[in-house]
């Protein structure tokens, strides 16, 4: 056993897949940031809000006001440097840090695909993606014929986890037996040409797409792993992600996933892709740069030991962490304790309405808060159905009104939430003074139960 692990660990592979992955990843990130910037989201999501919903333990992460643009600029430049492989290691670390910092500023904007970028870029910090066909090779006058095989496989493993876990998460009664939330979302796409008024309206279509989506997520990593089904799998990837792109506002994510799944292809394919890049670089080489040749070509045998160890720990974490919801009582989709960072994608349609009541515990005088005085529409929407947001906001309000000179403050919430087509129900115990509750990893016992069970994962 040990021998086989050791044997696998010392196996070599051509660096071409890593190279292609690095270039595409860098370019996609650059495009994503430019698109984000161009849409005005830096301002509307990070600068404009007077208050940010931070992750537990990351309250110290703040936006930099107007300088937040600088943070995005750093992130954009580092992604470009990653693509061309200039000082790769430091560039990818800067990318990981700046991107993750941005995501930590406000959890209102949490999306699984942003998380996947953070996680992936963390992994990439430890992999030799600049082994070949990078600017670093010219600078150091050294390139590598081979890299350890497991470095390529580790990217595959991460993608495997993302897909497969997303599939597991779909094995639940709302998704499979009630076609929820697709049977809310798809009929509302009545405005799509051709299929909108017909296809999207049929119940069997909602079920077909629910089940299809589950099988897709569960099977696609296998289809991509095995050579015989790989091309078919890739066609499915393109089809599936294009389709979701048409249906839902998911931005760059479909393209990123399509590009990422190229990693599963063999070295030959990647070499072909590189030869396409070479048309550009050769031109640059001949016309712009002085002709330079790399003389020193060697084998990249192993990473530093601690790097390999970090990667192992990283994967153990990735495999266990999504299942942390097991330790919380109650319905996951309702309480959302352990919901994030678990590849639960598009599983819930949740709407809420949360109205906060500020009470003077002595005089019993009270008043309600108009959320739009403090939150952006987007924050208000996201806050209204997520318990940790509600708690943080309650504290923010309590502090705010204390500073204004109000005394003996208690904060209560009148909160109603509807989940996956169910009737709206009272969400938070209206008699709990939230100002008196503290955030922790413990179960929030002031969330009223869903009184319905969603079976499955």
């Amino acid at each position: 056993m040990f021998y086989r692990i050791k044997n696998y660990y010392s196996k070599s592979a051509d660096p071409a897949p890593l190279v292609v992955f690095r270039i595409f990843f860098g370019i996609m990130m650059l495009i994503s940031i430019i698109r984000f910037w161009n849409n005005g989201w830096i301002k509307s999501l990070y600068i404009d809000p007077g208050f940010h919903f931070t992750y537990y333990g990351f309250g110290w992460v703040k936006d930099f006001g107007e300088y937040t643009y600088l943070l995005f600029l750093i992130c954009a430049i580092s992604s470009l440097l990653v693509a061309i492989g200039y000082r790769y290691r430091i560039s990818i670390i800067i990318f990981f840090l700046s991107f993750t910092y941005i995501e930590l500023i406000d959890k209102t904007t949490y999306l699984n695909h942003y998380y996947s970028i953070s996680v992936l870029s963390f992994l990439l910090c430890f992999l030799p993606l600049n082994a070949k066909f990078s600017l670093d090779n010219y600078i150091k006058n050294r390139s590598y014929k081979t890299v350890p095989k497991w470095t390529v496989d580790s990217i595959k493993l991460l993608l495997f986890i993302i897909y497969f876990y997303a599939g597991i998460a779909k094995i639940n009664s709302d998704w499979l037996l009630n076609a929820m939330p697709l049977s809310i979302w798809l009929p509302s796409k009545y405005d799509l040409p051709v299929i909108g008024e017909s296809f999207m309206q049929y119940e069997w279509v909602h079920f077909l797409m629910s089940w299809g989506g589950m099988f897709y997520d569960l099977l696609i990593p296998f289809l991509l792993l095995y050579k015989r089904t790989r091309v078919f799998g890739f066609i499915l990837v393109v089809f599936f992600h294009s389709f979701t792109k048409i249906l839902f506002p998911i931005g760059m994510f479909p393209y990123i996933m399509i590009i990422c799944s190229l990693i599963f292809f063999d070295t030959k394919t990647h070499k072909k892709i590189i030869s396409l890049f070479k048309i550009v670089t050769n031109y640059l080489n001949n016309k712009v740069l002085i002709k330079r040749k790399i003389h020193n070509t060697r084998e990249f045998l192993r990473l530093r030991k601690y790097n390999a160890l970090i990667i192992v720990l990283f994967f153990i974490f990735q495999i266990i962490f999504p299942f942390r919801y097991f330790v919380y009582p109650g319905e996951l989709f309702w309480n959302e304790q352990g919901y994030r960072f678990s590849w639960r994608v598009m599983l819930i349609e949740k709407r809420g309405y949360s109205n906060f009541k500020i009470v003077d515990s002595v005089s019993k005088k009270f008043f309600y808060v108009q959320n739009e005085d403090f939150l952006t529409d987007y924050q208000n929407k996201q806050m209204s159905f997520q318990p940790d947001f509600i708690l943080q906001y309650a504290h923010y309000l309590g502090d705010h009104f204390s500073k204004q000179g109000h005394k003996n403050i208690q904060v209560f919430v009148d909160s109603h939430v509807a989940l996956n087509g169910r009737d709206s129900k009272r969400f938070i115990d209206p008699n709990t003074d939230l100002y008196n509750q503290t955030e922790s990893f413990k179960h929030k016992n002031w969330i009223l139960p869903l009184k319905d069970e969603i079976k499955g994962f």
Binding site: S173, N178, S188, A418
Partner: protein, 398 residues
């Protein structure tokens, strides 16, 4: 190889851990759930082209007919009616300007009340040209900025295009001019009767501006109508979604908060009776609130403006089509019933909300609570069923 072995082990672990219990337990959930959009109505007709297994046509809701009904039978008639009343008001203001007598003042006042009532039927339509020119902000923002009004009058500055002048014009400004510039009628008349009375000029200017703005909006409707009814898609800018959001926003803000909640002190430490609608006239705040809830209810039910027995597609029929229920009851009917409860509760209040707030604010707060119930029904249950976003986030979904 090693990696694959690992993966297989991992998958086996997962499938053993929980999937077995899934299979037998999930069955029962199915029966409890109402699946929305599940249409098994009798409307489905058989297709002649297809084979015997051809699916029946997908059930659809005629959204265009809803928009046509909204435009032709509710919005435009409501505007026309309002315009008629406003022109009568304007005529009486002109008559008053040439002869500021008590009789003429009374005429202006009663015409002001009439048009203020018909205004309650159009404030919710913040769409098209109305949205573009900030029509609602210029017609009915209260509380009035009295010092701004007095400033404008004393400096003879009758330019009222600046946004800071929005709370110094429209119905609230007329309210002040007609009822608030003196402690009794003779004092008020005196201000209007002075040589080159700036008060009189401001009255005329404000009224003319209201007529002018209303004309801009009304004259745009014939051309805007086609755009409006064609925009049936489910996007941030489509007519259906915008008007749905306008409607709910109006219910929550223009109606619930402005008319009842804010003056009753729901959002502040103390009651704020001076913030009621028509503060200077005082005893019509209830009339206006009742008019508003009637307009809200009629729009929701899809009753034609000029004849409540003529009905068309509406939120009510849309929800019926989606078979949306709450606790087993049709959601649309629940919302309508809640409007009725709110209306009855308003009916119990004093004609003058300032008196109601000072004497028995608890009744105001109770009324607020009744109104509030429908906010949850609309914002959470109804919008979930229609899958329309309350607000449009320009960010990626997940």
């Amino acid at each position: 190889m090693k990696q694959r072995v690992f993966l297989i082990v991992f998958i086996l672990y997962l499938s053993c851990s929980k999937s077995s219990e899934n299979v037998d337990e999930v069955e029962q959930v199915n029966t409890e759930q109402t699946i929305q959009g599940n249409q098994t109505t009798s409307e489905t007709t058989s297709t002649t082209v297809g084979t015997s297994t051809a699916p029946s046509p997908a059930p659809t809701f005629d959204r265009e007919s809803m928009l046509i009904f909204w435009a032709d039978s509710i919005i435009v008639p409501a505007y026309q009616n309002f315009n008629t009343d406003l022109l009568i008001l304007s005529e009486s203001v002109n008559a008053f300007a040439s002869n500021p007598s008590e009789v003429n003042l009374d005429l202006v006042r009663s015409n002001w009340i009439t048009s203020y009532k018909s205004w309650q039927h159009i404030e919710m339509f913040n769409i098209g040209m109305a949205e573009e020119i900030f029509y609602i902000n210029r017609m009915n923002v209260y509380p009035l900025n009295v010092s701004r009004v007095e400033n404008n009058i004393s400096s003879s500055d009758f330019e009222i295009e600046h946004p800071n002048d929005y709370p110094a014009q429209g119905f609230p400004a007329l309210d002040y001019l007609l009822f608030g510039i003196g402690s009794n009628d003779s004092e008020i008349l005196e201000k209007f009767n002075s040589e080159n009375s700036s008060y009189l000029m401001y009255l005329v200017i404000i009224t003319n501006k209201m007529v002018e703005l209303t004309n801009i909006v009304i004259n745009d409707w014939p051309s805007y109508r086609d755009v409006f009814i064609a925009s049936t898609e489910n996007t941030a800018t489509s007519s259906i979604n915008k008007l749905t959001n306008d409607f709910i926003y109006y219910y929550e803000k223009g109606f619930r908060a402005n008319k009842i909640g804010i003056p009753a002190g729901v959002f502040s430490a103390d009651e704020l009776p001076e913030l009621v609608e028509a503060y200077y006239k005082k005893d019509i705040s209830k009339t206006l609130a009742l008019e508003a809830i009637n307009a809200i209810s009629a729009f929701f039910k899809g009753q034609a403006y000029n004849d409540e027995n003529t009905t068309g597609n509406s939120f009510k029929t849309y929800l019926e089509f989606l078979q949306t229920t709450k606790d087993g009851n049709p959601l649309g009917q629940l919302i309508i019933d809640q409007f009725e409860i709110a209306k009855n509760s308003i009916n119990e209040l004093n004609d003058d909300f300032t008196i109601q707030i000072q004497n028995d604010n608890l009744q105001m707060l109770l009324t607020y609570d009744h109104i509030q119930v429908a906010v949850v029904l609309m914002k959470v249950d109804m919008l979930q069923a229609l899958n329309i976003n309350v607000d449009y986030i320009d960010a990626d979904g997940d």
